[in-house]
Amino acid sequence: MGLAVCSGCDIGNCLDAESLCSLMAGQAEGIVCMHHPALCSEEGLGKLHRMVRDKKLDRLAIGACSPRVKSSFFQMDGVLVERINLREQVTWVMEAGSEDARMCAEDYIRMGLAKLAQIASPAPYVPEKIAAEIVVLGGGVTGLTAAVQGASAGYRVHLVEKTDRLGGYANRIHKLSPVTAGHTALCEPDVASLAALAESHPLVEIHLNSTLASVSGEPGNFTVELDDGAGTVLRAGSLVVASGWKPYDPSRLQTLGYGSTGQVKTLEEFEQFAGEGKIPERVLFMLCAGSRDKDHLPYCSAYCCGAALKQALYVRESNPGSEVYIVYRDIRTTGFQEDFYRSVQSDEAIFMTRGQVESVRQSGQALEVTVLDSSLGERIRLETDMVVLATGMVPSTTTDLNLQYRLGKGLPELKYAFSDSHFICFPYETRRTGIYAAGTVRAPMDIESSREDGAGAMLKAIQCIECVSRGESVHPRTGDRSWPELYMERCTDCKRCTEECPFGSYDETEKGTPLPNPARCRRCGICVGSCPERVISFADFSIQSISAMIKAIPVPDEFAEKPRILVFVCENDAYPALDTAGMKRLKLTPYARIIPVRCLGSVNSVWIKDALAQGFDGVLLIGCMPGDDYQCHFIHGSELTEKRGENLGEALRTMMLEPERIRTRFVEITGHHEICKMINEYAEAMEALGPNPYKGM
């Protein structure tokens, strides 16, 4: 094992690299040390590489800057490298030359070396037989686009459609909203040509009248049983779920006249009507019927404004004497659709009324509609032959996937039942690795948008197969080759890992014994944190590796007046915030010892108990923001930590320690001021509370 300490970037002002090297070499056998005034310079790197080569090192601790910088400089083939952050987390945030800063730096080096002794280079997990094939569920525009794209990239695609015809909802479309420049003329639907492309592609296999009977296995190696009368069984590396949407149930809109008369239709019904050429002379469109309404659909379905404007043109084009009323709250024609809106507005027989329909009554052959006009502030009565309700989109259920997963048959649903991603910057983040939702099952969207979404989701499906074949994780720890290994002899079937894994990696035997599916794993380590028996570990992240780091820290006795707090920080947001604090030279207490973890949820309570038994005055856990707008990339890491904190409270009581000796806090990645304040104030509070009585025991 080797240790290289850099004294550049003022690190040398904080510690004496030379004596530190001899100290470490003296403490552990077989450690080869070097130091250099600029380790990342050509000369420094040359010296480093020579040391590694000459001494045949396979493990190397580098005490220098944050692992988030100069990453490529310190990567060496066949060498396990541990970066020790002496710059951002010591030198730049502590008093130069102080004894406390020096002690802190020494501790970090001890921790790094201790960890290095406990970890190994991961041997990647690759499922035995990789299927470079993709199952697409749903033969609508989204699914068809996905299938054609995937096949064109050279992957075999199985397109599974429950009806006897490809095209989905788009088959019922009479005309499309204008898509070409100018945006005035309606376009002919083109789903038939898209379906023909899929049908004629040699790599697309179409399964009509078929549903999924079951999906089991893991990315790279799913087994998909079809319910198609023939018992077809497919293999797939990944899946795209494009099962589409259904209109909001109009029978719930009786106050708007639906059901009481045949002259009140939905957008979908009118589309068909128009296709059959049965267009009355006077039509009133009511937008947001049951949308943007807390009693119905609280969201905006994004497509209805455009669809209603298009249907208004059906009416106008069918009969020059026709009249159209459009009752709306806001017209939401974004982008170039605005041109279309403008052209519709210029038609003098289309009356736009900002307001709300209050009632629809039959009046002879016609309908009498009362509208509260919000511009005039008064009620107006309109007579029309037909009312069209622009009802919103409701996502189809994904339980049709019939996943044979311990955590359920479908994809987890987010707000308003869409199987969307929570992340603005990662719309295909999925909680079931290898299974990607696309189109209107993911979020309300129009046809153009669905095409893009089908293509995007197919890319992720292909990428997943490629990553799995390389034995690597997919987003967000892309490229990570470690995976959880279970020491089953000690497992007590408590089911915590199977319940807490955010990605449904673990299945279960009837007895409750966990059955890991490593290719489903996203390497967050939440299972490591969940296991009370401490049987789950990754090659480079384990109970032992973190325990060794904690044990490597000598805790000064109660008379030294040097309190110690242990801080677990999430690598994703809290750790970068600390680096920014370093860049800004903010102040950080030298009494804290920071251990980065994959996710706050990966913190096992044994580490906390060990630290307190070892005499640490307090343990602080800092993770990403939880709650409705959570920022945890592993969904519920921070929330789990709070939940587990209740059990830790019990441990504190049995140890006769004050409850404040364990604290959980949350920070945003931009919270560099906040995180320093959190750590500093906690250190002060623990100092005020007095030393942990376990010190020196």
């Binding site: 550049g8 970037c9 990342c40 310079s41 988030r68 910088v69 054609v148 794209q149 995937g150 990239a153 807390k294 609280p298 905006c300 379905s301 939401r332 024609t333 974004t334 982008g335 170039f336 605005e338 041109d339 511009s375 502030g377 707000k415 308003y416 929570h422 992340f423 603005i424 910057c425 990662f426 719309p427 295909y428 979020a443 309300p444 893009e452 979404d453 293509a455 995007g456 197919m458 890319l459 992720k460 292909i462 990428q463 490629e466 990553c467 390389r470 987003h475 967000p476 892309t478 490229g479 994703n572 947001d573 920014t580 860049m583 990403c624 707008d629 990339h633 990645i669 931009t670 560099h672």
Partner: protein, 402 residues
């Protein structure tokens, strides 16, 4: 087709970064060219994203980590594509780079900043943006740097990273195909003459307001207006400032309503005492973004007025007077405000004439074979749609099918 040639991504904003990563993680080689010295583009100036109001750096951090750990991505910053020749399967592109006055040896130790004598608007000639940046090194602003005549930074740099005499470079790369993700810039608000953007310091764009919020947050400062540094007590947001207007941008920029409401909500959290009023024609927040509108309507400090602001003038007491036609109440109002935020529209960034342009200067979806267009240079869209579109473009580049 030469499968082993890399795929070129032009533009290192959130769209280009996404396209590059999505392609590279399928196992293909990628070259990413960005004209600025850092990756991230417009979003690096955002205070937060809608609708979650979470910081953009959170996702950028993950993406930068993905780039750092992926040997298949070659990142070329400070560079522009100046020529495209050849055809699908074997394009030859010329990439021109500005002089790399600070090279990769830089450790961001900050010694150069300490000695740099040039300061403009609180920033030295040598600087690094705050927070999460990629690549993590300093850059020199050649516009204000005194050059070799000064050279103080060169002498003090412990890593020999600074070379003020560095030359610009031109390299040619062979690529299989390319994704164009050049992004957007804000419409020039000074062209809306009645709003006096150019001569009234307290009339700012939504992007400037976003940066103001972001800087306040980074530096833990309170909101202050540009003219006199006082905290504004009444802020007006003018929607469709130049958008949906035949004299300016006839199209709808798709994001401005969400941006303004997000900003008003952010402000309401920070300073509930500041009253904000949003002047709009239609409020366009699709999908889940509608939740923000519901929340804003419940927020006491935020009011909505349907109407178009006719003109902005000075009220003589340091404030601004807005003349508004209130379409709801059918009255004309003249109201004082301390700060006016113009929700100006999105305009595409274009590069080479070889690419085909369609409506309103945006690139068309259909280009010569092997050229794919992604995100906001194709049509106005928000971040989430940008990422989705960029992922779709990665798919098309791999499949060779539009």
């Amino acid at each position: 087709m030469n499968r082993s040639l890399p795929i070129l991504i032009i533009g290192g904003g959130i769209g280009g970064i996404t396209a590059a990563l999505e392609v590279a993680e399928t196992g293909r080689e990628v070259i990413l060219v960005e004209k600025a010295p850092y990756l991230g583009g417009n979003v690096t100036g955002f205070n937060n994203y809608f609708p979650k109001r979470c910081p953009p750096t959170c996702g950028l951090e993950i993406n930068f980590r993905r780039i750092r750990s992926n040997p298949r991505i070659t990142c070329i910053v400070g560079s522009e594509v100046t020529d495209i020749r050849g055809k699908e399967g074997d394009f030859r592109v010329q990439v021109r780079s500005v002089p790399e006055m600070i090279n990769d040896r830089c450790t961001s130790c900050g010694k150069c900043v300490e000695v740099c004598p040039v300061e403009r608007q609180g920033s030295k000639a040598v600087c690094i943006p705050e927070g999460v940046v990629f690549p993590a090194k300093y850059t020199i602003d050649p516009q204000i740097c005194l050059g070799e005549a000064c050279g103080k930074c060169v002498n003090v740099c412990p890593c020999d990273a600074i070379h003020l005499d560095a030359d610009p470079s031109v390299e040619e790369y062979r690529v299989k195909c390319m994704i164009v993700a050049t992004g957007w810039h804000l419409y020039d608000a000074s062209r809306i003459e009645n709003y006096h953007y150019r001569d009234e310091p307290d009339v700012i764009t939504s992007l400037e307001f976003e940066q103001l919020l972001s800087e306040n947050r980074m530096r833990q400062e309170k909101l202050s207006r540009p003219s006199d540094g006082k905290m504004p007590s009444r802020i007006a947001f003018i929607q469709c400032a130049g958008s949906r207007d035949l004299n300016h941008l006839p199209y709808c920029s798709a994001v401005c309503c969400s941006v303004s409401i997000k900003q008003a909500l952010t402000l309401a959290d920070l300073h509930p005492e500041i009253r904000t009023e949003i002047f709009y024609i239609d409020l366009r927040l699709s999908g889940r973004n509608e939740d923000m509108l519901v929340l804003a309507r419940q927020t006491p400090s935020i009011t909505f007025t349907r109407g178009k602001v006719g003109r902005i003038s000075r009220d003589g007491e340091g404030g601004l007077l807005l003349e508004v036609e209130d379409m709801q109440a059918s009255v004309r109002r003249r109201d004082p405000f301390d700060l006016v935020v113009l929700a100006a529209g999105l305009v595409p960034n274009r590069i080479l004439p070889v690419l085909e342009t369609g409506e309103y200067g945006f690139y068309t979806e259909k280009q010569a074979p092997g050229i794919y267009v992604a995100a906001t240079c194709k049509r106005p869209m928000d971040v989430s749609s940008t990422v989705k579109d960029a992922t779709a473009s990665a798919m098309k580049a791999i499949s060779g099918t539009v």
